[in-house]
Every structure is written in structure tokens, then in C-alpha cells.
């Protein structure tokens, strides 16, 4: 039996559909109820829905053997897991954005608002830029408008929210997509099962031209 942690929401549903096609079906997951754990003894699989940012914790601590989460989470928390496959879905990017026309003259400490504190610190440390990180939990875009910060480091999908708030992307930190991750110990003892899933999903990616 392999335990799979999926992120709640559209991304998780899309990934489940791919796993189903790869031979890891669990019909009960489609029933409309409030259950959180779904099992199919026949295909030897147990799925559960968790908060997207918690997937890596479930996998790292072995409650799930494998899971699917965004590269943003992996970069922020750096869990000790295997990153086995880029699922090429949920594509977006981590970017620095600021009010239109903002120019960083480097003369004073840069105020950075973000949910991704470690990502922001690492990015500016590599540049040797002194920053003041302001940790926010949501609506990051409002920070530069109200003068709380100079820039934000956040996930940008289409850029519509930024545009509507008179903000623009200054630079890309790294590209993001959903990744298939595995617990290192679980991988040793379920190698064949995990490889079978991997091969199935890889084939699907090839057939669909990278769109799950």
C-alpha cells in the first residue's frame, strides 16, 4: 500500500486524474463527501487531501510515501525528500514585483514583503543586498501600494492582479510547477510501486505534450 498526499484544490484533482490513468485509481475519492482519506486495496493505494503547504511535511515525516507539491514550497521549506518528477502542471513563477517604475538605487535597506521568508532572504543574500523582510500571510500585493514595503516576493501566475494594482514584475526568482516528491526511507521499501507510478505519469506527460 502506498500513501499519497495530494494538495487540496484544483491542482490536486488534476494530479489525481493523472495518477488514475497511470493505474493508481481510487474511485471512492470522487464521492462527494467530507472524508479526508480514500483507500483502494485493489490498486494498493491510499490518498489523502492536505493543505498544499503541508504536503512536504507529511512526506518528509513519512505519513505519506509520496506527494505532490509546488516548487515554491520545496524552496521555502527545503524538506529532506526526493524530488522525482516535474509534473509540468500548476506552472507559475516566484517573482519580485514593485510599483510601476520602481527603481532600487541600493542606497538603503530594501523592504521586502513576502510569505516566503527563506526564499526572499536567500535570493537577496546571493546578490549581497541588505533587506528588511516583512512576513505577511496574504494579500501581499497591497504592501508596496501602502508603502509597507518597497517590493514583494510572491507567486505570479498571469500577472493580472499585479497589473490591476499598478504593480509590475521586476525579476523572476525561479520558475514553479508541481513536483512529485517521495520520502527517502519509503522509496527504499516501495521502489517498484513508486517507479511504476513514475513511469506511468512520465508516459502520460509524453503523450499529452506535458499537459496533465
Amino acid at each position: 500500500m502506498i500513501n499519497i498526499a495530494l494538495p487540496k484544490g484544483r491542482l490536486g484533482e488534476r494530479v489525481y486524474a493523472a495518477f488514475e490513468k497511470a493505474g493508481f485509481a481510487c474511485p471512492s475519492i470522487k464521492e462527494n463527501n467530507r472524508k479526508l482519506i480514500f483507500e483502494n486495496a485493489e490498486s494498493g493505494v491510499r490518498y489523502f487531501w492536505v493543505k498544499p503547504s503541508d504536503v512536504s511535511i507529511y512526506v518528509e515525516r513519512g505519513a505519506a510515501d509520496i506527494g505532490v507539491c509546488g516548487k515554491d514550497i520545496l524552496e521555502e521549506y527545503a524538506p529532506d525528500v526526493y524530488e522525482l518528477l516535474d509534473l509540468k502542471t500548476g506552472v507559475c513563477r516566484m517573482a519580485v514585483a514593485a510599483k510601476k517604475g520602481f527603481y532600487d538605487d541600493g542606497e538603503r535597506t530594501l523592504k521586502v514583503a513576502t510569505k516566503f521568508v527563506r526564499v526572499a532572504k536567500r535570493f537577496y543574500a546571493q546578490k549581497g543586498r541588505d533587506i528588511d523582510v516583512i512576513k505577511l500571510n496574504g494579500s501581499i500585493e497591497i504592501a508596496p501600494i501602502l508603502g509597507l514595503s518597497d517590493v514583494i516576493v510572491d507567486i505570479v501566475e498571469t500577472g493580472t492582479t499585479l497589473k490591476e494594482n499598478d504593480l509590475e514584475v521586476v525579476e523572476t526568482v525561479f520558475p514553479i510547477s508541481a513536483r512529485l516528491i517521495a520520502n527517502k526511507a519509503a522509496f527504499k521499501f516501495n521502489t517498484a510501486e513508486i517507479e511504476r507510478l513514475l513511469a506511468g505519469v512520465k508516459k502520460l506527460l509524453e503523450e499529452t505534450g506535458d499537459s496533465l
Binding site: 518528509e60 515525516r61 513519512g62 529532506d80 525528500v81 526526493y82 524530488e83 522525482l84 518528477l85 516535474d86 520520502n183 527517502k184 526511507a185 519509503a186 527504499k188 521499501f189 521502489t191
Partner: protein, 365 residues
């Protein structure tokens, strides 16, 4: 008796000490406090964890022992004889993740001196035997940093590339390794070599075959030969189905070189054993010889295969002021003689007991 009283981690600690002793390793006892300097200069050796520090009465900065290996190296001498020691110590660290203090029970061994193939073989056998003491369902992942650094030398893309590539190899992250190679304009043949290191894992013979074309010359070829010899010996030694080759075992190259390994137990979420050859750490600490060793993290076994008992005690003897002492003593002694766990008390409280012997006035009625 020992099985019911000792916890799993204590049973294992016991068995491991006797195992290492059998192979001629001597016990090493370290003091609880060490000068902080020792750890400050080799901080990364503790893999992301911090050191708990305080000042002594002279104002000197001390550390609550966070590790045993560094202390063993510091206190040893290069007098020619090999130093073979084992330890069983609690170490204290600040968790890199939660920033909380934590206590870890470690058992391990170190072999310091002129390290030859036999010493490496013996260390690997003892690593396997240590895992077997915990459970039959174990695997020992073995890697050789010589193979990795040999291939990276051939690529020759510089320090920053090597650091990033090693991290990706450790993650089995093929897709980003390809992107990284493209960004550094690494030749296709060398990219393939790196990818082979990620893709080849598992059965030793299969991996050695896949690796042969990757390790044809230089440092990688030497390392490959050593790896092959050791795998052959371990297979003959009865560990064929337990050892796997896996280059995702990437210990810090600042300290380690040569063979590195990690042990996994089915049912424990992370590696319970970790070790390798650390000549580089020796050199950093001004020692002239080589060294190899490993540690077993017994704290991870807490809860492993533990069966929650339905009872706290076999028998509870309830008594009050009217119970005759002779009768009470007879009841307790009788239960002890019958091999039961027994307690005499005036109330049951929340205790879960199999059998209740009520000698109170109410009970007699």
C-alpha cells in the same frame, strides 16, 4: 525480563555495544561539556543543527556536547596504532528546523588510522549488523564520493555548479539537473554521465554494470574499483540482498571522501544510520591519518514496533485502615511470586489493571 523492561532503543543500544566490543572496539566516554571552538570551526558537520552554548566560571564559552566524532578526533593522537572506539552517548543540539533544544541518543563507532579496504569492509559489515539488530527489514545505501567528484572534475564547471549538482543528485532530481547542465553549457556526454549517477540505484551488480562506462578513467575509475571490491566482499559476506548502491547519499564533501552510506529500516521515516570515510575532516583538524565511522540514531526508534499495552499493571491490591497488614503483604508477595506486576494502593485512580484484589472493608462486603 530485559525484553519487557527495556525499551526498543535501550535493547538495541545494549546489543550494539556488545557487537562492537566483539570486533575489538573499545568504549569511548566523553565529557558533557567541550570548548565551543571545537564545534565552531566545523559547524556544518552537525548538518544544520545548532550547538547549545554557555559560559563557564572563567568566562570561557562551552558547548553541551552536540557530537562525539569531533571529540574523538581531537583527543586522539597520530602515534601509528589504529584507534578503534565505540560510544553510546546522549548529545544535545538546537534543531535546525524548530530551533528547539533536543536530546539525541547516539551509538556509533570510529576507526581512525591508516584505513585500508579491510577497515572499510569491516565498518560496512558492522553497519549492516547494527541495522539487523533493529530489524530484518533494512537496507544499507552505499555511495562513493570519489565517483561523484571524479565525474564532477571531468565536467569541470566550477564550484558553484558542483554544489548545485550535488544537491540535485541527493534529491534524485533529474529534471533540474538537466536544466542546470544546459545553463552551464555542459557537454552532452558529461550531462549523460551525471544523469546516469541519478538514474542508477538499487542492486549492486546492476548499478556497477551501468556505471562502468561512466568511470573509465582517473579518480572515478579508482573509486569504482574500490566500490566493486567492497560490494563483492559484502555479497560474499551474506549481505547481497541488503546493500544497495545509491549516489543520492551525498555527505558534505568538506568533511567526507570515499565511501559514504546510510541505513534505513522499514517503518522508520528517515535514515537511522549514517556514516562514511572522513579523511577531510581529519585533515581540517590537523590529523595526519584517515578515518571511517558511523552513528546510529536511536531516538528515531522511539515508537518503532511498539505495542501499546492495554494495562498499566497486572494486579492492584486495594486496602484501607481496616485491612490486616499480614493479609496485604501476603497478597502482594503472592502476585510478585506469580510473576505479576502488582501495586498496593488505597485507590485505583486512572490505573488500568487486569485484576483487582479488593481488601477494603467495602470490598469484603
Amino acid at each position: 525480563m530485559s525484553e519487557t523492561v527495556l525499551k526498543k532503543e535501550e535493547q538495541v543500544a545494549f546489543a550494539l555495544r556488545s557487537l562492537y566490543k566483539k570486533y575489538g572496539y573499545l568504549p569511548y566516554k566523553m565529557s558533557k561539556f567541550e570548548a565551543y571552538d571545537l564545534y565552531a570551526s566545523n559547524k556544518d558537520f552537525l548538518v544544520g543543527d545548532g550547538v547549545i552554548t554557555f559560559t563557564d566560571t572563567d568566562g570561557k564559552l562551552l558547548a553541551l556536547k552536540p557530537d562525539v566524532t569531533l571529540s574523538i578526533i581531537k583527543n586522539g593522537s597520530d602515534d601509528g596504532a589504529k584507534q578503534k572506539v565505540y560510544y553510546n552517548e546522549n548529545v544535545y543540539r538546537i534543531s535546525g528546523e524548530t530551533k528547539q533544544f533536543k536530546e539525541l541518543m547516539q551509538v556509533g563507532l570510529e576507526c581512525i588510522g591508516d584505513i585500508g579496504v579491510y577497515d572499510i569492509y569491516e565498518t560496512l559489515v558492522l553497519a549492516c549488523a547494527s541495522l539487523a539488530e533493529i530489524s530484518d527489514d533494512f537496507v544499507l545505501d552505499i555511495s562513493h564520493l570519489g565517483v561523484l567528484s571524479g565525474v564532477l572534475d571531468e565536467v569541470g564547471a566550477g564550484e558553484a555548479f558542483n554544489r548545485a549538482a550535488l544537491r540535485l543528485v541527493a534529491e534524485k532530481n533529474e529534471h533540474e539537473l538537466q536544466t542546470l547542465c544546459a545553463a552551464y553549457s555542459v557537454a552532452q556526454a558529461n550531462t549523460e554521465k551525471l544523469l546516469t549517477l541519478v538514474r542508477s540505484y538499487g542492486d549492486a551488480n546492476a548499478v556497477l554494470n551501468a556505471l562502468a562506462p561512466v568511470c573509465e578513467e582517473g579518480k572515478a575509475a579508482e573509486a569504482y574499483a574500490e566500490l566493486k571490491t567492497l560490494c563483492g566482499l559484502l555479497q560474499k559476506g551474506g549481505y547481497a540482498d541488503k546493500i544497495r548502491l545509491d549516489f543520492s547519499v551525498v555527505n558534505d564533501m568538506k568533511y567526507y571522501n570515499g565511501i559514504v552510506f546510510k541505513g534505513f529500516i522499514d517503518g522508520v521515516f528517515k535514515s537511522v544510520l549514517s556514516g562514511g570515510r572522513y579523511d577531510r575532516l581529519m585533515a581540517r583538524m590537523k590529523r595526519k591519518t584517515g578515518a571511517i565511522g558511523f552513528a546510529v540514531y536511536l531516538d528515531l526508534l522511539e515508537g518503532f514496533q511498539r505495542q501499546r499495552s492495554a494495562y498499566d499493571l497486572d494486579t492492584l491490591v486495594l486496602y484501607d485502615g481496616n485491612t490486616s497488614l499480614e493479609e496485604l503483604i501476603r497478597a502482594v508477595d503472592g502476585a510478585v511470586a506469580a510473576g505479576e506486576t502488582v501495586r498496593a494502593d488505597k485507590a485505583q485512580g486512572k490505573l488500568r489493571v487486569k485484576k483487582l484484589v479488593d481488601l477494603t472493608t467495602g470490598g469484603r462486603k
